[in-house]
């Protein structure tokens, strides 16, 4: 998959292609023992592709009416995205709380709705559409043209992401988090192995990223906005604890507990099989996001973020 300069408009379409049932819940840890690296870590190295395409991030508040019945169509396999079927029973990325919804505080839910309503206004546009770093856990949410690469050296686990050349270096040596005065777009991760599970504790976030945001545009997003715009914002008090567990040679189950007492009423948890082993010889290529993005932003919001770069010039 060669993605050089891709318009971020695809972000809003990213999770919709899979017509099959969403990925199964993450399997129980401990049933698979991965091989070890020379320094004794469970070996997760290699190229991975996004798992969980088609899995809605949260349970929709509004259930869309069923589509017109096509008498020639095969019986629905069930579980697809789009509001059909029994919405209350379909799996979501959010596994806790059980209602599958982001537990926003009332003021924060109002702000979220404002963000959704103003996706055609540059100041509110989904930060990922602006090619800003995805943040955590969103960097692990499926977008169809992404590739992940995991490298392990003594004392480190490194995740490389094709999308916008993001990376995370996760030190395993137990060092403390950096000074709270330092805010980082991808947070400050600290890892440890609990058996075969990599546990990553991240703090020091900015308040500029969104936690979740795959899937179809939220209900209420202006039609011309070209963005998913799910509006799941957070504050600098965000604390994320992630768990990565290989459940077989080709699957990494992912769980993340998200807490931010300034925005949510309680911690909540997401989980699915987020990493699927890529085919042999798959490679990660350059994804230059911002270098081609000014035109997308201009068409979407009328704001010209780089007047020197107009109309295909540089």
């Amino acid at each position: 998959m060669v993605s050089l300069v891709l318009a971020t408009v695809f972000l809003s379409l990213a999770s919709g292609s899979a017509g099959q049932a969403p990925a199964a819940r993450t399997a129980a840890a401990g049933t698979y023992t991965p091989p070890r690296t020379p320094d004794g870590q469970p070996d997760m190295q290699g190229m991975w592709l996004p798992g969980g395409e088609g899995l809605p991030m949260e349970r929709a508040s509004i259930v869309l009416p069923p589509p017109p019945v096509d008498p020639n169509a095969a019986p629905a396999a069930g579980g697809g995205r789009g509001g059909r079927g029994n919405a209350a029973q379909r799996p979501t990325m959010i596994v806790d709380p059980p209602d599958g919804k982001v537990p926003f505080q009332p003021w924060a839910l109002e702000k979220r709705n404002e963000i959704i309503d103003k996706q055609d206004n540059f100041a509110f546009v989904d930060p990922r559409v602006r090619c800003l770093p995805a943040g955590v856990p969103r960097v692990n949410l499926p977008i169809v043209f992404n590739t992940y690469q995991i490298l392990q050296t003594p004392g480190h686990v490194v995740f490389l992401y094709e999308w916008s050349h993001l990376y995370r270096d996760i030190p395993l040596d137990g060092r403390p988090h950096v000074d709270p005065k330092i805010r980082l777009w991808m947070g400050d991760p600290r890892g440890r192995w609990e058996g075969n599970t990599l546990v990553v504790d991240s703090t020091n976030f900015t308040d500029k990223t969104h936690l979740l945001g795959n899937g179809a545009p939220a209900v209420g997003v202006p039609a011309g906005a070209l963005t998913g715009g799910q509006g799941v914002f957070h504050s600098e008090a965000l604390h994320v604890i992630e768990r990565f567990t290989m459940t077989d040679a080709n699957t990494i189950a992912y769980e993340a507990t998200l807490e931010d007492p300034k925005v949510f009423t309680r911690p909540f948890k997401i989980g699915w099989n987020a990493f699927q082993r890529a085919p042999k010889d798959h490679q990660l290529y350059e994804y230059a996001c911002f270098e081609g993005d000014h035109d997308t932003v201009r068409r979407m919001t009328g704001v010209d973020i780089d007047p020197t770069l107009n109309v295909g010039g540089r």
Binding site: R130, L151, L160, Y167, V178, Q283, E291, R314
Partner: protein
């Protein structure tokens, strides 16, 4: 895959510097004074955080100080870059346009070798199959494959495609498939899409690496030329790579200037 490589090789073979297919290159035993630690597969252990200290980012050639720009000696062997006459005029025009024309002022990817000597640290992550580089500037990454895989079919990339091999204790990296949209420095030194870079990372001891980059571009220069720098291992105890997300800075600058 092989056809693509042949095309790339043919395009590059204009110059006398031979582009030897990486897969056919046996590691040569070169004399090395390196006594630092080694990885389990016997290579010099480059894992850690590095940075250059030079004025190459502002101007590869010798230059007088200017506002916010320290004076510096040339990092180019022979001092001056051997431009063709028309290209030299273009370089002068780039310089006259000033710093705002630098692609980095727009937060575009810096290209190679410039990413090496912009004034930010970077981390090397070394495995038997790759030497990866994680740069603090704009979360740029490079993956240098050292597993014998060839360049992919021709692409146009901001950072080029990097394939490496070990010649004794020296990591030699062949970088091709560039676009023509990056500069070498803030002073307007530039290249075309015919750019071909060969980097040599030679560890001198545990904490110093000699960095040499040979630049060839038959559309812009009269001959290949070479720059010399040093990489210093950063040894501060609490050091880690932080972030410098210039996308945000650039977007906010244009928003507030409206």
């Amino acid at each position: 895959m092989r056809n693509g490589v042949s095309v790339a090789v043919a395009a590059m073979a204009v110059f006398s510097l031979a582009l030897i297919p990486i897969a056919a290159q046996a590691p040569a035993a070169t004399a090395s004074g390196y006594r630092g630690s080694r990885t389990p597969d016997g290579k010099p252990n480059l894992n850690g955080i590095w940075q250059t200290f030079s004025t190459a980012h502002w101007n590869l050639e010798a230059h007088t100080a200017d506002d916010g720009i320290p004076a510096g000696q040339s990092v180019v062997e022979g001092n001056d870059i051997p431009y063709q006459p028309a290209a030299l005029a273009l370089r002068r025009a780039n310089f006259e346009k000033g710093r705002a024309s630098d692609p980095l002022a727009k937060c575009h990817l810096p290209g190679v070798p410039r990413i090496t000597y912009i004034p930010f640290p970077f981390q090397i992550v070394q495995t038997p199959k790759h030497v990866s580089m994680l740069y603090e500037y704009s979360n740029v990454t490079r993956i240098i494959y050292t597993d014998g895989t060839p360049h992919p079919p021709p692409l146009e990339l901001w950072m080029g495609d990097s394939r490496g091999r070990w010649e004794g204790d020296t990591l030699v990296v062949d970088v091709t498939q560039f676009n023509d949209m990056t500069w070498f420095d803030m002073a307007g030194n530039f290249h075309s899409d015919a750019l071909h870079v060969v980097e040599r990372y030679t560890p001198l001891d545990a904490d110093h690496v000699r960095y040499e980059a040979t630049i060839e571009d038959p559309k812009v220069f009269t001959r290949p030329w070479k720059m010399n720098l040093l990489l210093y291992r950063r040894l501060e105890q609490n050091l880690q790579i932080l972030d410098y997300v210039c996308v945000d800075f650039v977007q906010r600058k244009y928003l507030t200037s409206k």
